[in-house]
């Protein structure tokens, strides 16, 4: 009896399938704007790049189409989608409603008061990053600051609906926060974000629920103002849809 081969299907760590790898690769390239909106790709070219046939490539491409990252047109090609501002606005609204509710629920459950010192420390770190002009680190710290509340309420799953995986929102946020803007713009925006965090904690400390809600809603509307500013300056207009 052959007992050398132990079959343990459930515990087996499945290797990522080829279409998944291709999808992941392209999604990241698109999300980071490394592949610019409007750029033309072709299934055959991708197949050569990944040294496989068109079939696995095609599966990844079709999935990217469904996700809105690619726009494939028969007999023309597959194009990196332009950023859909309406979609960004929709996601921003969802984030305003859902994340505001989660923070306020934590507030109403009296979870936030005892955490004020911890939150102050997080914002203090953010201020230090700002003073050292570590804006990349600050962006990550901002993300962590917000994730903190999701974890506090065990509502991590909601993040899937607040733009974390939305290719349009992700690219808009990158444009708004990333290296595409000038150093002064990035510093001003980052300072604004940190000051907003400070005022949120003030509201928590003061027991001012309405002020906390206002600060939250205003905070999530930042991206609207930044995008309007970018479009007003006619920067990156070819990155956007219409």
């Amino acid at each position: 009896m052959d007992t050398s081969i132990i079959e343990n299907r459930d515990a087996a760590v499945e290797a990522p399938k080829l279409p998944d790898e291709i999808h992941y690769f392209l999604w990241n390239k698109i999300a980071t704007l490394e592949l610019k909106p409007g750029v033309k790709l072709s299934e055959l070219g991708l197949a050569e790049q990944f040294k496989c046939s068109r079939i696995p490539v095609r599966e990844a491409v079709r999935r990217l189409n469904v996700e809105g990252a690619l726009d494939s047109q028969p007999q023309r090609g597959s194009f990196v989608s332009r950023i859909d501002l309406e979609e960004v606005k929709r996601v921003r609204y969802l984030r305003e409603v859902l994340e505001t509710r989660i923070v306020l629920d934590a507030y109403d459950a009296n979870l936030l008061g005892p955490l004020v010192p911890l939150l102050r420390g997080m914002v203090r770190d953010q201020k230090n990053m700002l003073s050292f002009n570590e804006l990349e680190k600050l962006t990550d710290a901002d993300t962590q600051f917000h994730d903190f509340f999701y974890h506090l309420e065990n509502k991590e799953f909601v993040q899937a609906h607040t733009g974390r995986y939305d290719i349009h929102y992700i690219r808009a946020r990158r444009l708004a926060l990333g290296v595409e803007r000038s150093d002064k713009q990035r510093y001003d925006d980052s300072l604004n974000v940190v000051l907003q965090h400070d005022r949120m904690i003030d509201a928590i400390e003061n027991g001012d629920r309405a002020a906390l809600e206002d600060e939250l809603i205003n905070h999530f509307r930042n991206i609207n103002h930044t995008l309007e500013d970018i479009l007003h300056r006619n920067e990156f207009t070819d990155y956007f849809h219409i």
Copy 2:
């Protein structure tokens, strides 16, 4: 990868494609429970059914996998997914937060007061359907009643995040409201729904915002109770995951 060639033309010629048709057909069959959870399909069998090759079928199947409607396992087959109760609970939470906010926003904008007679008429119609035991019509009327508020606030897009296209939530709702339950159960549940609608309008009429919010939250939690009831009776246990 060539990123130098930027295609500026965004032609938009839409034609119904074979994979889309197959996807739509299967999605509906699954959503209506006509294809029962756990049933095995095969790409080749579907290809024969649709009189085409496996390629278009495969595209539809892969998309259904991403959407959670199918679970394809290599060299085993493609199985209609069982209903994921955790996913249903997640979607129910999103609906509670988002739809409650939308109705309360309309209330705060003083849009609902003048509409009380209209809302009363809708509920009166629902009561008539109930008295004539037209439960299918009543289910549609319930959907319309809720859609009314989305349209009032121009937030139709939010419906995409409140279960309208979630295959697990849709099937759970169908089990909870549909012909799978006994006539008495369906009548009792429907009566409960209509009475809840009535109490919402009462709260609007009385200017009792807190009561409106409570009724809304309670209303969206109905499905939890119904599903617990179904599982407690050991009905349709093979429809659910674990």
